[in-house]
């Protein structure tokens, strides 16, 4: 995808979002006969209009830059494995709150760090003992700071 096309798509998506915001704000309660600014939907609607104008400007600006920028946009990831790692990180992030509620925050942190360090280590170089040791050390720091020093009440999990 070129940078140009991605900008046009971004403009269209933003315009649609602005439209949605405008419509939803219309359902908010209004008072007849009083100053418009008093209404709940007034300010969101105003932002929606500004956003819509700006997204049109973005598309216009992009189209006007004709010719000079047909260059290929750098892909979001440099290699296929980097992309896999990116997706895996997202999965780990999403799993974190669930694991935290189930087992407790220290276990969740330990599992998260272990899994991610293992993923980021080049294949064939992984030394399980070293990875587990470093994960345990970082978890210990997190535990000391948040649980012992700051005394944050974390959800009671099956473990810690």
């Amino acid at each position: 995808m070129t940078r140009k096309r991605s900008d046009i798509i971004a403009g269209i998506v933003l315009f649609a979002l602005a439209g949605l915001l405008f419509i939803v704000a219309g359902f908010m309660p209004t008072r007849q006969g009083s100053v418009q600014a008093l209404n709940t939907g007034f300010y969101p609607r105003m932002l929606a209009v500004i956003m819509a104008v700006l997204s049109v400007l973005l598309v216009l600006e992009t189209v006007r830059k004709q010719g000079q920028e047909a260059r290929q946009m750098a892909p979001w990831w440099k290699t296929k494995s980097a992309f896999t790692m990116f997706l895996a990180t997202l999965v780990l992030l999403v799993l974190y709150p669930f694991v935290m509620r189930l087992f407790g925050f220290a276990s969740a942190s330990f599992l998260f760090i272990t899994a991610l360090v293992w993923l980021l280590t080049e294949k064939g170089q992984a030394k399980p003992v070293k990875i587990l040791g470093i994960a345990a050390a970082i978890t210990l720091v997190v535990y000391i700071v948040f649980k012992l020093v700051l005394a944050i009440p974390f959800p009671m999990g099956l473990l810690i």
Partner: protein, 500 residues
């Protein structure tokens, strides 16, 4: 009101009988320097990630720590700029221009020493300016009404949109996007809940801290993961850290000039350390005694940007503390740290919380002192840390982001806010939308809305109220100049070139 009394400077002194203040400041600077020196961890991100640590502390101790982080991280960026030509934080970009050549000539220690001393002098001067300028501006700002605040907010958002790299339209879109995030929650005037999607957590609006940690911390880590890994080896030996007296004499003029540039640029709404250091380097190139040697590795080239970026720290605090309008992304995040302590920056802070404001001045001064000591003593060790493998760093930072977001209000909901903001921030970075305007818009949004609507209510719906008050009109003219000015200037230059 008496804002110019000595109370403003002395009433916070008693907080410093508490040794914890020194501990907090020292650790703030230490952590700041280390994080600032690590490439890829920006100063803004460092402050965002560490705010959850401060939230249980007393406001004075919390700010001793945060201001230490701030000074330390802005200074720390120079270490990696000098050693490996990668600025640890954006405000050190100009430092690498002469710092790296010096390091290639085997003079890395000398460059770091000069950077430390210049940063110290710059930081010191900026505190002095802050101490005198802030109460003056605060006493003027006390007279501002809702209309003026609308104008100032618009200035802040338009300046940050203009100076953000890339398209101005994208910068403005980011700013409006931030304002839209600020809509969520109870309407400040009618009490009607907006866009809360049935979640009680959203009644008071989206918590800005997890959003900031997501946009600056999590999304940056996602960017680094999607990039190819690189490992860094620092080979240079670091020696001769303490510069000889003749070198100090040589850079004194440069440092003082650059410091004033730094304070002034820092104080402009939304123009922060990166701009200050580039401008200072630029003026050294134009007016400096050895301007022809710049770029080959001379000490002036390190002194100018480093004095300027640390001088901008005090400058950037001026609009944040006095008007509640942050000077750049870093102070926007710092302002988030104030708000979770229940303190609203603005002129009233000077009136009602004088001892606290006083403690801010003293803390900043203290952090400059610690920065000098830690820089001169610890540089050797920080240089080793730069090579710390990313594969351990990224997971550690991510866990701090996750646990920190939870810790702010003990809510798993905030972890979701963090993850979603991180992904949104990642997509926006990849589409080259700037992040700083979003954060500024989000922080200023609720204040902007209530001032804006209050003005319109008092004027009974008459929009002319914004141009009828002279100061408000002046601010709006500035907004128009900021947005249209650069375009006109370009046209003008083209016409002149054609004419020639």
């Amino acid at each position: 009101m008496e804002l110019f009394s000595f109370d403003l400077y002395l009433s916070g002194l008693h907080f410093f009988t508490n040794p914890l203040m020194y501990v907090a400041s020292f650790f703030g600077v230490l952590v700041g320097v280390v994080f600032g020196a690590l490439p890829g961890l920006t100063a803004t991100m460092t402050i965002a990630v560490f705010i959850p640590f401060t939230f249980g502390l007393a406001p004075t101790i919390s700010f001793a720590f945060l201001l230490g982080l701030y000074s330390g991280a802005v200074y720390g960026g120079s270490i990696s700029a000098i050693l490996i030509n990668i600025p640890g934080t954006p405000s050190a970009i100009a430092t690498s221009l002469d710092g790296y050549p010096m390091s290639q000539q085997g003079r890395a220690g000398e460059a770091i020493g000069i950077s430390t001393i210049s940063s110290t002098i710059g930081g010191f001067l900026s505190v002095i300016v802050l101490m005198f300028a802030a109460p003056a501006i605060a006493s003027v700002a006390l007279k501002f009404s809702a209309e003026e605040y609308v104008g100032i907010t618009l200035i802040g958002l338009s300046v940050i949109a203009i100076i953000s790299p890339g398209s101005t339209v994208k910068g403005l879109i980011s700013g409006v996007f931030g304002l839209v995030i600020g809509i969520v929650g109870i309407d400040p005037i009618t009490g009607f809940p907006r866009f809360i999607m049935g979640r009680a957590e959203l009644l008071e609006g989206i918590d800005s801290i997890p959003v900031m940690i997501g946009m600056y911390g999590l999304s940056e880590m996602l960017v680094q993961i999607s990039d190819v890994q690189y490992s860094i080896v620092v080979k240079q030996k670091i020696s001769k850290l303490i510069p000889p007296l003749k070198d100090l004499k040589r850079i004194l003029g440069t440092v003082i000039r650059s410091s004033f540039i730094g304070v002034i640029i820092g104080a402009l709404p939304a123009a922060g350390g990166s701009i200050a250091s580039l401008v200072a380097y630029g003026q050294e190139k134009r007016f400096g005694k050895r301007r022809d040697e710049l770029g080959t590795g001379i000490i002036e080239g390190v002194a100018a940007p480093e004095a300027a970026n640390n001088a901008s720290t005090g400058g950037a605090l001026i609009p944040m503390l006095t008007l509640g309008i942050p000077g750049d992304a870093m102070t926007a995040v710092l302002m988030g740290g104030l708000i979770i302590q229940g303190l609203r920056p603005g002129p009233l802070l000077f009136q009602q919380q004088m001892p606290f404001v006083s403690s801010i001045f003293i803390s900043l001064l203290l952090s400059v002192v610690f920065m000098c000591i830690i820089g001169l003593v610890g540089a050797k060790y920080f240089a080793k840390l730069i090579g710390f493998p990313k594969k351990y760093l990224i997971p550690a930072i991510l866990v701090f982001c996750l646990v920190g977001s939870y810790a702010i209000s003990n809510s798993i909901f905030d972890i979701w806010v963090l993850i979603i903001s991180g992904i949104v921030g990642f997509v926006m970075r990849k589409l080259s939308f700037p992040i700083a305007p979003i954060v500024l818009g989000m922080i200023l949004g609720p204040l902007f809305e209530s001032n804006f609507r209050r003005s319109l209510m008092l004027s009974e719906g008459n929009w002319a109220t914004f141009v009828q008050r002279p100061i408000s009109l002046g601010f709006l003219i500035v907004v128009v100049l900021v947005l249209v000015g650069p375009m006109l200037l370009k046209r003008f230059n083209k016409v002149i070139i054609r004419g020639n």
